[in-house]
Amino acid sequence: MTKHRNSIAFWAGVAIFLVAVLSMTQIVRNEYPFFAGYVILQFIALAVAWSILGGYAGYVNFGTNAFFGVGVYTAVALFKATGAPLVVQIAAAAAVGMTLGFGVGLLTLRMRGIFFSIATIALAIIIETFVMNWRFVGGAAGIQLQRPPVMAPFDSYVKMLFFVQAVLVVIAVGIARYIQNSRIGRGLQALRDDELAAECTGVPTLKLKLVACMISGALMSAVGAPAAMYLQYADPSSAFNLTYSVSALAMSLIGGTAHWIGPVLGAILLGSTQQFLAVTISSEINVLVLGIMLVLFVVAAPKGIIGLLRPRYRLRAGGKP
């Protein structure tokens, strides 16, 4: 009963959110809020996507930048080759990200813990090197992109991208919430705690890990796809920047990974702080703030914001409260 009522509340919240975003694009004339808001939405979606594998399944992925960059360059290559519309670019990026996720999932066969994390860093470097040497998409020098005309009802491309990213956030959160409430979520939680015990209790651990990697990867790449159009430019060192990995991880952990709302809260808190600091002080200080906040949370609130708010999630987040 309460589950049903929760669902109604959730989807009502989603509807209100999307309507608010849409009306904001129609009412607000200044473009800056959309520029800044896009980045925050992007990090919300990335953090939620990260937590599907890193939080629920406990496989700490340091390769968020690999998936993000693959999304960016799938969109770039597709746009340059065929002039495909944004929706197609995003869908293609999701498909490529899912395939890459399958590959990463196979890594979990042999690697756990820190070894898995290091392998994902290596993956990002390999793909970045490949893109740097790919002339068609501009190689190491990067590539300029001309935005196509904006579609109605939007009057600027950035506003449209802001709305698109909001939709991606909704998709990411919807999927994360579904996984959390389904038996997939329980299976992932079990394998995070003890893989052998989970196997022996009937949990198809490899299959669930592959599913988590593929969903997480598809979402991350989809989130990356609009970035090229946002900047009207793409280059390997920014598309594959390690900051994406560190941010997605820090935001998830600061928010708490036991519930989908955790990464959302973490990304809003950190993302808006970073945007604020970038404007008032400098964009270089962002990384410092990220580091300090992560240290503070690890020491003072190891189960993140939601662990502080709801003690019952402390258990779900793993280990001792």
Partner: protein
């Protein structure tokens, strides 16, 4: 999946099983049949291959040669989760609870994944298993608040949530006081009375004697004796290898 077998066919047939780790032979050509409903005791000194054998039966390890046949089906190549779904459940020598879950949720994992189509709501089934095991009061507790004996019982309860035909108990009584040993033993015996075949690995001799209908003794990966408990205990080789002369 519905393999029909003769009523007197063994539930589990282990055939010429060999498992080596590098140059070390942990199991050497082991063959044994376990009858349906049997209470089977497995003994042997440390390092004799008891846990390796049940790892091969439950799927955590794959043997180099030999076969494991369960209910007439060759399961030698199946991963553990598919064996669990076919009705093989186990507890671990060192308890391995899902630490981020409550006791009840630990059982829900098995009910979610290993059992198919129950008419009752899963939580009711989990609660009835917990009641059976005397853990009902702990249903909502995190596993790190359990005492050692409660943890052992939870391991057995979680195995029961798989609805096993074959339950393998790997030293469920190690480190317990003698009254706790009796408590767990009574539980296992009562489970055996409802058509669950049980393999029990144990070092505590009076428990093995009381529990088992048949006992097998391993030493250095070989079967050195198998038969009625009293016979096996009287066997000279068993006494030399295991009990000391």
């Amino acid at each position: 999946m519905t393999v029909t077998t003769a009523p007197d066919a063994p539930l589990l047939q282990v055939g010429t099983l060999t498992k080596t780790f590098g140059g070390f032979t942990a199991l050497d050509n082991i063959s044994v049949d376990i009858r349906k409903g049997e209470r089977f005791g497995l003994i042997g000194p440390n390092g004799s291959g008891k846990t390796t054998l049940i790892n091969c039966i439950s799927g955590a390890l794959r043997p180099q040669t030999g076969s494991v046949v369960f209910c007439g089906e060759d399961i030698t190549q199946l991963p553990p989760h598919l064996r669990a779904r076919r009705g093989i459940a186990r507890s671990f020598q060192i308890p391995r609870p899902f630490k981020s879950m409550t006791v009840l949720e630990n059982l829900m994992v098995g009910l979610d994944f290993a059992t198919v189509g129950s008419s009752l709501p899963e939580e009711d089934v989990a609660m009835s298993i917990l009641t059976r095991m005397g853990l009902a009061a702990k249903a909502g507790a995190p596993t790190d608040t359990l005492s050692q004996v409660e943890l052992r019982k939870m391991e057995l309860a979680r195995a029961m949530a798989v609805r096993p035909k074959l339950l393998i108990s790997d030293e469920a009584m190690a480190g317990l006081s003698s009254s706790e040993v009796d408590e767990v033993l009574d539980l296992l015996i009562s489970l055996g009375e409802e058509d669950i075949t049980i393999i029990m690995i144990e070092h505590i001799m009076q428990a093995v004697m009381r529990f088992s209908e048949r006992v097998m003794c391993l030493d250095a990966g070989k079967i050195i004796a198998i038969g009625a408990p009293a016979e096996v205990m009287a066997n000279k080789r068993v006494q030399e290898a295991y009990l000391g002369t």
